[in-house]
Amino acid sequence: MKLEVTEVLWLEEHGELTLSQLAELSRLSEADLLELIEFGVIVPAKSHAARMRFDAQSIVAARTACRLREDFELDAYGVALAITLLDRIRDLEAQLQDLLARMPHGLR
């Protein structure tokens, strides 16, 4: 089997995404994404008039939303609530990680 080397992309390297690019990457429809934007789960980096632009972190949020909706059979409001709570857990875990990293080994 031929072994090819695949170059990988940082999510950040995608630069700014349009709504339709985000829809393609996340497998959500534009209507679903607009609903998530309305609930504040996805925040456009720029949103003047009809020209919304998204940063790469929105891909992570949109893909998580897609998984939660399918696997837990949630509506958009339930997805929004779950993502808000998951974000809080992630922030707390980052703070804990920060504290643990600063703490000497002997005290852990």
């Binding site: 089997m1 072994l3 090819e4 080397v5 695949t6 170059e7 990988v8 992309l9 940082w10 999510l11 950040e12 990457l25 497998r27 891909i59 992570v60 893909r63 998580t64 897609c66 998984r67 939660l68 399918e70 696997d71 837990f72 059979e73 779950a82 998951l86 990680q97 920060d98 643990l100 990293a101 600063r102 000497p104 080994h105 002997g106």
Partner: protein
């Protein structure tokens, strides 16, 4: 959406044995969900929901969450649909993992055509049946619209050294692919991916087109790598910053010293200022992990005063001498507290 891909450290589960490829391994979907064979749709749904809350990789901290949830989702997908459930029930009851052969007319009845079981996984088979029905036809992929390939997520556990230098990792994944008849097969995919330097815990990398194959001109899915760092003997990681305990003898901490410190890029000299206290952070600027863009993170050496376990007679004499002449009161903050 679940990942059937395996992490690079745990490549590929069961691969069909060519000698027995007319058989499939039985999976007991009812026992995976913990319900009776005759359970009602509501009971099945509730059991699934309970297990999903416990094992869904987005919400679970269970060790084997990803593997468990894959089975749970596959079981529910098959049993929630009355038609696929009926097809599954027709297979009868077997021991989990037991090799079995479906009745000859089974596929005809439910699949609408002769079906070969070569290399098929039970879950994939039901996926194929359900997919065909969803698409409203049963005669293979001709005439279907484009179907994009599935996206997959895999964890890449790399060492801190690899994160620092960048690394080439081997990915050995098993992914479903459709054949010309629209049947799903497991295909072993092997390739190398270059992890650029500067990756750190929790970061995601995207490999475009490396997910499941698209069908009828649908685009190929993507593969997402989730970076996890293996714990390191010396360094603790926070983002792109590193933390290192720096043991110091009492006299080094008191008088100051120049000590050698290991970094991921080699040893460097660090100047310890006089009167350094335990817990004080000494920063080695830009000696942390590189960032994909911008300045590298920092390395922090955290001073730890350590005393020799058993001092020699000479050391003991010198300590005693120091105790006599020193006016230092380490517990000045206790003064006036706690006295009755």
């Amino acid at each position: 959406m679940q990942s059937r891909a395996h992490s690079p450290q745990a490549p590929a589960g069961a691969v069909a044995n060519p000698a027995e490829k007319a058989f499939m391994k039985y999976k007991d979907y009812y026992s995976i969900l913990g319900v009776e064979r005759g359970a009602s749709a509501d009971v099945i749904k509730n059991a699934y929901r309970k297990l999903a809350r416990k094992y869904h990789p987005d919400v679970s901290k269970e060790k084997d969450a990803e593997e468990r949830f894959k089975d749970i989702a596959e079981a529910y997908k098959t049993l929630k649909d009355p038609e696929t459930r009926a097809a599954y029930d027709q297979l009868g009851s077997h021991r989990p993992g037991e090799e079995f052969q479906a009745p000859p007319d089974w596929a005809e009845h439910f699949g609408g055509q002769q079906f070969s079981f070569e290399d098929l996984d039970l879950g994939d088979l039901f996926e194929t049946l359900a997919g065909r029905r969803r698409r409203g036809q049963r005669r293979g992929p001709a005439g279907m619209g484009p179907i994009p390939g599935q996206d997959y997520d895999v964890v890449a556990r790399i060492s801190l050294e690899d994160a620092y230098r960048g690394a080439l990792i081997d990915l050995n994944l098993e992914m479903p692919e459709y054949d010309a008849e629209g049947r799903m097969h497991r295909v072993q995919q092997q390739f190398k991916a270059r992890i650029p330097k500067g990756a750190t815990e929790g970061q995601r990398l995207r490999l475009p087109g490396k997910g499941g194959k698209g069908l009828n001109g649908g685009r190929d899915g993507d593969l997402y790598l989730h970076i996890e760092l293996q714990p390191h003997r010396l360094y603790r990681v926070n983002g792109h910053d590193l933390y290192l305990d720096l043991p110091l003898a009492p006299w080094e901490a008191a008088l100051g010293a120049s000590v050698e410190v290991p970094t991921l890029g080699g040893r460097v000299r660090l100047k310890v200022p006089p009167a350094t206290q335990t817990g004080q952070k000494l920063r080695l600027s830009k000696h942390g992990l590189p960032r994909p863009r911008g300045e590298p993170g920092d390395l922090y050496a955290i001073a730890q005063l350590v005393v020799p376990g058993v001092p020699t007679d000479r050391e003991k004499a010198l300590y005693e001498q120091l105790a006599e002449v020193s006016i230092f009161n380490p517990r000045a903050n206790f003064e006036g507290e706690g006295s009755r």
